[in-house]
């Protein structure tokens, strides 16, 4: 009995404590929202663009538009018309669920976040914006960076 006990056995408890702390840290800082951003896009550079605090309850619709004017959703190109129609329907249902006074003709509370490549010609971008407006989206946020490198 004592022979088997004498084999040195490391105390794993402190290591486990530390690993759990690391896990907690990474769980807290991981945000799966970043997956919906297309990081291959080169955003336009605007000196005064600052990150804006968006309140948690605000719903966002992120649109990645590459320089060919394609709408990229989780790195797959989507048809602009049907996709926005479906999103608008969802947003409308959610708005109705939140407040019963919401009518179909009201402006949608969702903010459309446009992440377009800096080389996108206006004609293609305008298609996307027009389509959003036709579907009832009114609030827009145009994304930009403040440094040329990224």
């Amino acid at each position: 009995m004592s022979g088997s006990k004498s084999e040195s056995e490391a105390d794993l408890t402190p290591m486990l404590d530390m690993v759990f702390q690391l896990i907690t840290f990474f769980m807290l800082v991981t945000s799966f929202k970043a997956a919906s951003l297309d990081l291959s896009l080169r955003l336009p550079v605007v000196g005064s663009a600052r990150p804006v605090e968006t309140e948690g309850e605000e719903s966002l619709l992120i649109l990645n538009v590459n320089k060919e004017g394609q709408l990229m959703v989780y790195s797959l190109p989507q048809e602009i018309g049907p996709y926005l129609k479906a999103e608008a329907k969802m947003a409308r249902l959610e708005a109705k669920r939140k407040s019963s006074s919401f009518k179909d003709t009201d402006d949608l509370p969702t903010t459309v976040v446009v992440r377009a490549d800096r080389d996108t010609p206006f004609s293609l971008l305008n298609l996307v914006i027009k389509n959003c407006q036709d579907n009832g989206f009114r609030k827009f946020a145009l994304k930009a960076t403040d440094k040329a490198g990224s």
Partner: protein, 171 residues
């Protein structure tokens, strides 16, 4: 009884932590691998008015009643900025109303005169007429200047609307 007491004093139940540690390491590996800090991006918030004339409601007119009215925001007090594009997507000419403007710095000064509190004007929105080839990067520079402006009523200008100029439009 005495046997039991002896066992207790030896350290009681000892859990095998190795399995738990293995699992914890797996979780840790997963979170480290999926960890990708979101890039810090700025944004410009806009309120884009609906394509129908909103101010026309006072005359009990419905959208599309007036066939000859193809100006989407006719009765709002709108200022029109035209941006003509070169074939490679740069700004060719910039104009506020009818007057040409040299560049974005000059545009800032001009807009301050036209929109600002001391102008006495009642503009509350800006229509950007944009050449179809203009690159988004260049457009954002103009949008940026516009959103910096303060209106006569003290509010920030956030109402913008975009109109596309036909291909090859010249000033």
């Amino acid at each position: 009884m005495s046997r039991r007491k002896k066992k207790h004093s030896e350290g009681g139940v000892e859990l095998n932590l190795a399995a738990m540690l293995d699992m914890a390491f797996q979780l840790l590996a997963f979170f480290i691998m999926t960890f990708k800090p979101a890039p810090i991006e700025g944004q410009i918030n806009l309120k884009l008015p609906p394509p129908q004339p909103v101010a026309g409601a006072a005359n009990a007119k419905k959208a599309g009643d007036d066939e000859s009215n193809n100006d989407p925001v006719k009765n709002l007090n709108s200022l029109i900025i035209s941006i003509f594009a070169t074939s490679n997507g740069r700004v060719a000419t910039l104009a506020v109303g009818e007057a040409n403007i040299a560049g974005t710095t000059a545009l800032d000064g001009r807009l301050k005169q036209v929109l600002g509190p001391e102008s006495g004007a009642s503009f509350d929105q800006v229509i950007l007429q944009v050449g179809s080839k203009l690159k988004y990067d260049e457009l954002m520079k103009v949008v940026d200047v516009c959103t910096k402006q303060t209106l006569a009523n003290g509010e920030k200008l956030t109402k913008l609307s975009f109109v596309e100029l036909p291909d090859g439009a010249q000033p």
